[in-house]
């Protein structure tokens, strides 16, 4: 029996096509994935992301624990509410999961704590790994399954959210910087997302989320499913765990180099030694963007051929509704230039190699 979020009945009432996703019954679309995608690029859409796993990290060593657990450094979070994106690596420097961590208190105060949001499909192994690593630290890990999460994204998302909330929450939203969240009367409101648009991710007690969802729908926010979530994140050049990276690759070959905090050198985070060795030996691959102007759609696992250099593989591919061409992320040899060829169902088709993202704030951003 699959798990259901607190919004399941809302999804059915709104005509969702429901599919199994990591053991959860989730909406794939509410009719047309492309219409939902376009709504996020031009107005506002909302996603039920309650299946994601929220873990609160408390205790005297909360910061020290996360500085060991994560390749990025929570010491960079200087203000309450600030968030960062990080890989959680194993000893071999390979990616166990990617996650967002929020600083929930001012740095260094007594009772300092953090909130971590990890993927749903990796929940069990993540929790096991986090608990194992916690043994050496004075920390407590508390999963928060009774919290729901809604992402509202798009150029009109913030205005529409504010229209259904009280004034104090509206003021709080105005005060947030990008990649920052704050608590508000039992809610947690953050300026984060997975679409390349302005927007919010809001964590709400599950018994309040259905009313919030319905109010957003009445304010003209389109319900969007996992299908649109995938095309939006791919246009935004954001990785999907399990497709673009997993425990067989390091962040250095996954376009996640920017998430590794090498300084200070004294911080011996898990996987650091392996990453240093990989760098010293020379990183052999990279994750790049591909754009195909001809008809057809690039798909995951298709072979990429780089003449005179070697071969690679598409990790995620799709049709880009915003650009009207096919785009992909691909892991290719480090020496790849700006051209490659993809084996598209037996046909060799030329593609341009670009640096993601493909789309930001509704517009094409690569050249």
């Amino acid at each position: 029996m699959a798990s259901k979020t607190a919004l399941y009945d809302q999804h059915l009432a709104m005509g969702a096509k429901v599919v199994d996703f990591g053991g959860w019954d989730m909406p794939l679309n509410y009719g047309s994935q492309i219409e939902e995608h376009n709504k996020v690029r031009t107005s506002a859409g909302m996603f039920d992301v309650s299946h994601m796993t929220i873990v609160d990290v408390t205790g005297a060593d909360a910061a020290e624990y996360l500085r060991y657990l994560l390749a990025n450094d929570v010491a960079r979070l200087e203000v309450k509410g600030k968030a960062l994106y990080s890989g959680m690596l194993n000893e071999d420097g390979k990616v166990i999961d990617d996650l967002i961590v929020y600083r929930m208190t001012d740095p260094g105060v007594s009772g300092e704590w953090f909130r971590v949001v990890v993927n749903c499909a990796t929940r069990e192994k993540d929790l096991r790994w986090m608990a194992e690593q916690a043994a050496r630290f004075d920390v407590a890990l508390t999963e928060q399954p009774e919290l729901s999460m809604v992402a509202i994204q798009g150029p009109e998302a913030i205005v529409k959210v504010k229209s259904v909330l009280n004034e104090s929450r509206g003021r709080l939203i105005d005060s947030l910087s990008v990649f920052q969240g704050q608590e508000s009367e039992g809610w947690f409101i953050a300026k984060t997302g997975y679409t390349g648009e302005d927007g919010l991710e809001i964590i709400v007690p599950e018994d309040e989320v259905a009313d919030f969802w319905r109010a957003l729908a009445e304010a003209g926010v389109a319900p969007c499913g996992l299908g649109a979530r995938d095309t939006l994140r791919l246009e935004a050049g954001m990785n999907l765990y399990g497709a673009d990276m997993d425990e067989s690759v390091s962040p250095l070959v996954s376009a996640m180099g920017w998430t590794i905090a090498w300084e200070p050198e004294s911080r011996k985070f898990c996987g650091r030694a392996a990453l240093e060795a990989e760098k010293a030996a020379g990183v052999t691959q990279k994750l790049v963007g591909l754009v195909m102007d001809t008809r057809g759609v690039l798909r995951g696992q298709q072979k990429v051929i780089v003449e005179g250099v070697g071969e690679g593989e598409i990790t995620s591919g799709t049709f880009s509704p915003t650009l009207n061409v096919s785009i992909a992320l691909a892991r290719v040899p480090a020496g790849t230039g700006d051209q490659a060829v993809v084996d598209l169902r037996g046909k060799q088709v030329p593609v341009a190699v670009v640096r993601p993202p493909f789309v930001r704030n509704g517009k094409k951003v690569f050249s």
Partner: protein, 130 residues
């Protein structure tokens, strides 16, 4: 529940066949098939004038989700293709039995029509798959 039309014939690979009564049939993919595929973004059609046999590949339909082959349900000659799908592939989703048709075949052996599934048999097949 998918729309299955009584006046049409079907094959297990989810194409529908309409007998035009003049020795030709029109072919498309079913409502059930377009639902499984999701938004269609490209359709590759066969060439007019080509001879095709039952079971041949007759093109590809690509959706946001997957690429799927289109099969020839009855043998004959391709006499017309729906060029509208080049610019408006979404017709396959919005009107699978009407403006979203794929191609027309001039039958080489009309008795092949007897081998096709009727609406009831196709409906059972869809239910078994889901």
């Amino acid at each position: 529940m998918s729309d299955i039309r009584n006046e049409l014939k079907y094959v297990a690979s989810h194409e529908w066949i309409r007998d035009e009564g003049d020795g030709t049939v029109t072919i498309g993919i079913t409502d059930h098939a377009q639902e499984l595929l999701g938004d269609v973004v490209f359709v590759e059609l066969p060439e007019v004038g080509s001879d095709v046999a039952t079971g041949d590949d007759a093109g590809v339909v690509e959706s946001v989700k997957a690429a799927s082959d289109v099969y020839v349900p009855v043998s004959g000659e391709i006499v017309e293709v729906n060029n509208q799908l080049e610019d408006s592939p979404e017709l396959v989703n919005s009107d699978p039995y009407g403006d979203g048709w794929f191609f027309r075949i001039k039958l080489s052996d009309a008795s092949e029509l007897d081998d096709l599934l009727d609406a009831e048999a196709y409906g059972e097949l869809c239910e078994d798959e889901s």
